[in-house]
């Protein structure tokens, strides 16, 4: 794979020409900053297996150069930075606790004033998801997590840095790959306070986000923007990218606009509130059984299985989170509230702080799900492997199958030439095999009804059948190839005429913000979403304690009541009725089988007998 970088000046000029405009959400406290002051404010630690974490370089003594030298590296060791000042959190430090307390109080006040959550995330999803969500929150107590004070302490440290020198900076890298010029904008945020600030999934120190712009180069050497890809959580592939002329992609001049998720810093193309679901898969044996039942239900019984469930549905448990990317906060970049400072270039040779530091860029919380652990740098994943976005930025956004416009026609013609040549070979092969088949057919005809040639006749019949099948396959392949060749010719003509593909043809599942209708919900629905799980559990306990005589019927009644109210609020009455009916039908069928098993067997035999009789009589009448 060819990856090379242009010169420093050319790279900087390109980065600046297409640098994004970020629009954050009111209430967000952290913005893209330079890594240098961040690292200077951090201490470097190492966590070896089964041991307490050890401070390698204390706070204030770390630099980007020093970061690259990782002492005490051994199998299983995790190096990590600590941004939040532990002294600030310690009660015995002079004024430490008070400072954090004040900062938290101020943050809370400002956040409440500035940020108001929209329709509660819980009101948008079902009972089961809410129940799993409650378990997830409880699990946070047991899992490793970023301490509650960290967001406030990070805010204090960030403000301290910004007070020293206010700046908004991205880290840029320019490289060529597969005919594309890729502009990588790496945005570094000192803290992700999605959980503590915006009811999200996680908090962690340090946050690396990325936006890539893909340019094509004309023969005259001019560059043209063709595609843009924004990173959002761990999504990869085609759905991440938009074509430059896609109406969804907002631009200020030549600068793409990013709507940044509050706290999470995920990047979106349009402003709004995004429902992000953390899907937990079913254990594989259960998933297989569920899949088999679904297939039987759908294909054999011809029953309806609902929308969006055709993929087999391996993930039945999902926890909902809302990413608020409203774009009503501070904006940085062309035409925004603040301008970008000169970018920090990640040029060739790759700086040591990028290539030699494989540790985490913030606190290692030892969370088994990794959500609360800080991320690794731009080049690495948390497990120290090189990240795909670094070594294959074109493939990361699913662009590896797309040729740059200057190469598209060439690629089409080459592919057509290959197919035409393949067709020619196929035709020759078909001709040979056809001749062979005819000769074999003649041989068989000659052997027919000759008892002494029975054995070779049977072998010949088998060979004829095999050859016939092979010929059929080859003819089918030729027909398909000819159709593809024709289609390629038409495609080439369209391109020559200046026609382009649909801008959104590659998108299978676009991440869309919640619609106005979804957001318009009464306070009663939100209140119901907030209390319903607890209320249901309390009612179960009440029934178990006071209505033991009628426990089954009361439980059924209570579940039906909650399900009905829930379905009413969520507009899923049809689904509820349908599911309840199927459940009742299964029970009723079992009862009928239990009560009338032998009668049903006799009836089935009678029906089969009558059918055979009717079929035979019908044949007799012909």
């Amino acid at each position: 794979m060819k990856t090379e970088s242009p010169g420093v000046e050319a790279a900087t000029a390109l980065l600046r020409r297409f640098e994004p405009v970020i629009r954050s959400t009111t209430g967000d406290k952290f913005y893209p900053m330079d890594v240098e002051p961040y690292v200077r404010a951090c201490s470097l630690w190492v966590q070896r297996p089964g041991e307490e974490a050890v401070c390698v370089v204390p706070g204030g003594k770390l630099s980007l150069d020093r970061l690259a030298q990782q002492p005490m590296d051994e199998a299983g060791a995790v190096h990590f930075l600590k941004f939040t000042d532990t002294e600030d959190l310690r009660s015995d430090s002079p004024g430490g606790r008070l400072r954090v307390f004040r900062s938290r109080a101020k943050d809370r006040k400002e956040s409440t004033r500035a940020f108001r959550a929209g329709r509660g995330r819980l009101a948008r999803v079902g009972y089961f998801s809410r129940f799993v969500d409650a378990l997830y929150s409880i699990a946070l107590l047991a899992r490793g997590r970023v301490p509650g004070e960290s967001a406030a302490a990070a805010s204090v440290a960030y403000e301290r840095i910004m007070a020293g020198q206010e700046h908004y900076r991205y880290h840029g890298r320019v490289l060529r790959q597969d005919g594309w010029i890729v502009l990588q904008y790496w945005l570094f945020y000192p803290f992700n306070d999605w959980r503590s600030g915006f009811f999200g999934a996680n908090d962690h120190e340090a946050d690396w986000e990325k936006v890539f712009v893909y340019l094509s180069e004309t023969e005259a050497g001019e560059v043209r923007p063709e595609w843009v890809a924004y990173a959002a959580h761990n999504y990869t592939g085609d759905n991440l990218r938009r074509r430059w002329d896609d109406p969804e992609l907002e631009k200020v001049g030549e600068h793409p606009v990013i709507y940044v998720g509050a706290g999470s810093h995920a990047s979106y193309f349009a402003p709004g509130e995004y429902l992000t679901e953390l899907t937990l898969p079913l254990p594989s044996p259960l998933a297989r059984v569920a899949g088999a039942i679904r297939t039987f239900w759908k294909t054999r019984l011809g029953q309806y299985v609902g929308d969006g469930e055709e993929d087999g549905g391996s993930g039945y448990f999902s926890i909902p989170f809302v990413d608020y990317a409203r774009g009503d906060g501070l904006s940085v970049g062309e035409g925004g509230d603040r301008a970008w400072d000169e970018p920090r270039l990640i040029a060739d040779p790759t700086p040591d702080w990028v290539s030699d530091y494989r540790g985490l860029w913030g606190l290692y919380a030892r969370d088994p799900f990794e959500g609360e652990d800080a991320p690794a740098g731009p080049m690495y994943n948390r497990d120290k492997s090189v990240s795909r976005a670094w070594y294959d930025p074109v493939g990361w956004a699913g662009l590896d199958k797309v040729a740059p416009p200057t190469e598209t026609l060439e690629a089409i013609l080459e592919q057509r030439a290959d197919i035409i040549s393949r067709c020619s070979t196929l035709r020759t092969e078909i001709e040979d095999k056809s001749r062979q088949l005819k000769k074999l057919g003649a041989e068989l005809a000659a052997m027919r009804d000759r008892s002494h040639l029975d054995a070779p006749y049977r072998a010949g019949t088998r060979r004829v059948a095999e050859l016939s099948r092979e010929l059929d396959r080859l003819r089918g392949k030729l027909a398909t190839d000819e159709a593809i060749s024709e289609s390629l010719a038409e495609y080439a003509d369209r391109l020559r005429a200046g026609e382009r593909d649909q801008a959104r043809a590659h998108i299978s599942r676009a991440h869309k913000p919640a619609s106005e209708d979804e957001l318009r919900v009464s306070r009663v629905a939100e209140a119901w979403a907030a209390i319903s799980v607890s209320l249901m559990l309390i009612s179960f306990v009440g029934i178990a304690m006071f209505e033991r005589e009628h426990i089954i019927s009361m439980l059924v009644f209570s579940i039906a009541f909650f399900a009905f109210v829930e379905a009413g609020f969520r507009g899923r009455l049809v689904n509820l009725v349908s599911s309840a009916n199927i459940g009742l039908a299964v029970v009723a069928t079992l009862i009928i089988f239990y009560e009338f098993f032998w009668q049903l067997v006799v009836a089935a035999v009678l029906v089969i007998g009558l059918y055979v009789l009717w079929d035979n009589l019908r044949e007799l009448r012909r």
Partner: protein, 125 residues
């Protein structure tokens, strides 16, 4: 048509149960089992009315017809199962069998697709 057939069936079953009771010997203190069965048959009245309404909705092509029909079938089956757990009257079995077939029919891909647009427009409510 199937829904109207169901209502007719329910009415006929009710009539048959009514005729089975010996009204002259009726004693309120020791009710005949047939009288009890007839009394609980009254539980099918709401679902019969709903079924009739859904049949009319189908005739006039109201999109809510599917939901009404599905609720009616569910209600009938629930009543059948409840009666089965208490009295096990003979008439619940044919009703159960018919309801099961009706549920499978109403939930079949083709029928659901016919009503899908309307349901989507109203957020599947």
């Amino acid at each position: 048509m199937l829904l109207i057939l169901e209502v007719i069936g329910l009415v006929l079953l009710g009539g048959y149960e009514f005729l089975q009771v010996d009204w002259r010997d009726i004693d309120l203190r020791t009710l005949q089992p047939q009288a009890v069965e007839l009394a609980v048959f009254a539980l099918f009245i709401p679902s019969a009315i709903l079924t009739l309404l859904s049949a009319l909705s189908f005739l006039f092509l109201y999109r809510r017809g599917w939901l009404l029909a599905a609720i009616a079938q569910g209600l009938s089956l629930a009543v059948c199962l409840w009666l089965y757990s208490w009295f096990q009257p003979g008439y619940v079995y044919p009703i159960m069998a018919y309801c099961v077939l009706m549920i499978l029919y109403l939930n079949s891909q083709d029928v659901r697709m016919v009503f899908r647009t309307g349901q989507q427009a109203s957020h599947e409510n």
